[in-house]
Amino acid sequence: MNDLDLLRRFEPIIFYTQGEHFFPTSVDRYIRDCSLWETRPDQPATRLIAEGDLTLQKLIEPRSAPHGTVQYLRYVEQLTPLEAAKFLARHERKFHRSRGRLARVGLASRIVDALFSITLFLRGRVPGGTAAAAAETYQEAQAEEESYIYYARLVRQNGYVCLHYVYFYAMNDWRSSFHGVNDHESDWEQVIVYLTEDLTPQWVAYASHDFSGDDLRRRWDDPEFKREGDHPIIFAGAGSHASYFSAGEYMHEMELPFSGPVTRVWRTMQKFWRDTLRQGQLIDEEQKRSSGVLVVPFVDYARGDGMQIGQGREKKWEARLLPDVHDTSPNHPQSWAHHYRGLWGLYARDPIAGENAPAGPKYNRNGSVRGSWIDPVGWAGLDKVTPPMSAEASIQKRTEEIRARQQKAQAEIESKTSELRGIGLEAESMFDVPHFKSIYSAHLKKIDELSDEIAELQKQIAVDHALLESLDAYSDRLARGNRLPARGHLKAAHHPTSETTEQLGRLAEAWAAISLGLLILGLVLVLLIAPRLWANGIVGVVAAISFLEALFRREAKELIQRAVSVLGIIATLILIYEFALPLLVLGIIALGIFIMVDNLRELAG
């Protein structure tokens, strides 16, 4: 079976959400509609090649430029608001928005969301009307010749055969069409299927927002992972095209740029509160991840209720082979993967990069090589995982290495013990000889050092014994066909929002839309009507809005608990401030009594 046949055998089926505008397309068709641009540091952008003149051959031509230069493609000129409205009116929108993202999160997140929306005006961003223009251009090209393309390559690494599938979209319109985080021209998504050398599928990894390493992959027998025969099923996020293992609506909480220090202080305080003072309920890893203070909520709709592309579907894939890691020949049809390091769409000059177009399948935006390209096994955290068919041999090899290490340690212990005894004898002989004072001290020091080294070696041998027993037991377990749990490697798996969350109702959604405005109006009214009582007024307005919010979210009890805890902390701080000296004296007296009682108990016992 050649590479292409193997890639086709495991090619994924993608389920899209209704309302999706863009589907995987070919790079050469996209390039036909593009112009090539360059932005040098502190200079306006200049067009290098006009639309219609650009070819893949011209794209990969080497161009010298000073450091800091960004080369990028421009796919479309944005439509005016009127043209965009006409386009949307012509195309029936099939996307059914469910409960808004704002209704799914608390008031604090909504305040941060408002701040995030303001930053969009300050940052560079993809202009409004770009998504509509891109959709129009893409749909015209599809009308000419309908095609659904994926690029793929096969990489053999560390005992795995990696089938790397790459999907290219003309645009990511998550923000403008689906209330998401960002828009950018062009979009690259990727999936890797990992086979053992006898071509048995073992793992599959989907690129997804916010996740990396172990959390990207699922085992072939994981119940969350859906497939039809050998074809993995991907649920693509609407507009974002991020890949998910299950259909549903996924909440993302994006941290605001530059919020790192605040978040770190917040998490340290939370850790002290939860772990040191043991206050509140235990929270799991996923809750810890989303416990940032300056986070903006977004929903990625991966419902899978729209078009399906792949094996057994009306829409079929066309596969195109990407060049091998070492095949950098410019004659390869997909040599652009190696040779074009620029961005595949508009460079929006967004400092946090979310609105800038991505680079190709091989490169990051800064020109460095993507981990998934150079190290597909390590990208999904598989570099530490031995393929099952070579597990037994690896266990044997590791066992031998540990035994050899034990033997070496044993030999070292014997040698060091012999040396230690010699030095011990010498020290004994010098015990009451006055002129040996300094040599005797040096001997004692050496004895201590050697004793510590021998103790460390003994400890290592004991640990190695335990390791050997563990490896032996694991070998037996594997021989019985009893593998580790399929989801044991996951630290923070992403789950769709629960149905309860999605069904909070229209009233909650309406409240989510108006609450922030009400809060601001309330604060202004307090300052206008009762400026003398501003402090009480502000506390009252915030308390009232927060309580209503909690009622809508059915979290009134949690709100009361949190509010009373805050009051308790304030009261404690006041008491510490008012009675610092007496408290210190009391503490010292208590310590003295404790020491006395403890000593007396020992004396009596």
Binding site: V564, A571, T572
Partner: protein, 153 residues
């Protein structure tokens, strides 16, 4: 004869501290109330004849006085009932306790920021804070939530 295993959830030790604090608070509130009441009995000699001859009029001080007496007594009774509920492992008692401490803390902080506070005030505030931090302890939360779940089953 084989003894049946107990299915109740083991009480964490910290509950003993919680009970002591809550019953201590109840005792404190009731004592305040009782002291106000005793003081009220002392002026009954003046008030009863006034009521008899129809010359009695409520003064502002008297209203404040009655309000304070009834507040302390109600708080004391509520605290005692909550203490009994907590002792019996009732989850409603935990919720009631946190609400009561919230009310005490709001009144206490309002007093601190607007008026001169005396030593009994600080004691009340300290006791309420200690109860809140104890109610919020993980073992205590788990105990009362587990009891609620057991009841729900």
């Amino acid at each position: 004869m084989k003894r049946r295993q107990r299915t109740t959830i083991k009480r964490p030790r910290i509950l003993l501290i919680l009970f002591l604090l809550v019953f201590g608070q109840a005792a404190m509130f009731l004592t305040y109330g009782a002291l106000y009441l005793l003081n009220g009995i002392a002026i009954a000699d003046v008030v009863i004849p006034e009521i008899y001859f129809g010359t009695f009029r409520f003064s502002q001080e008297m209203i404040t006085y009655l309000l304070l007496t009834s507040t302390w007594l109600v708080l004391g009774l509520a605290s005692a009932i909550i203490g009994v509920g907590l002792r019996r492992g009732k989850s409603w008692a935990w919720t009631a306790a946190i609400i009561l401490q919230g009310a005490v803390l709001i009144l206490g902080l309002e007093t601190y920021f607007t008026r001169n506070a005396d030593s009994t005030f600080y004691f009340t505030l300290g006791l309420a804070s200690a109860i809140v931090l104890t109610l919020n302890q993980r073992e205590v939360l788990v105990f009362y939530r587990a009891n609620r779940a057991t009841l729900a089953e």
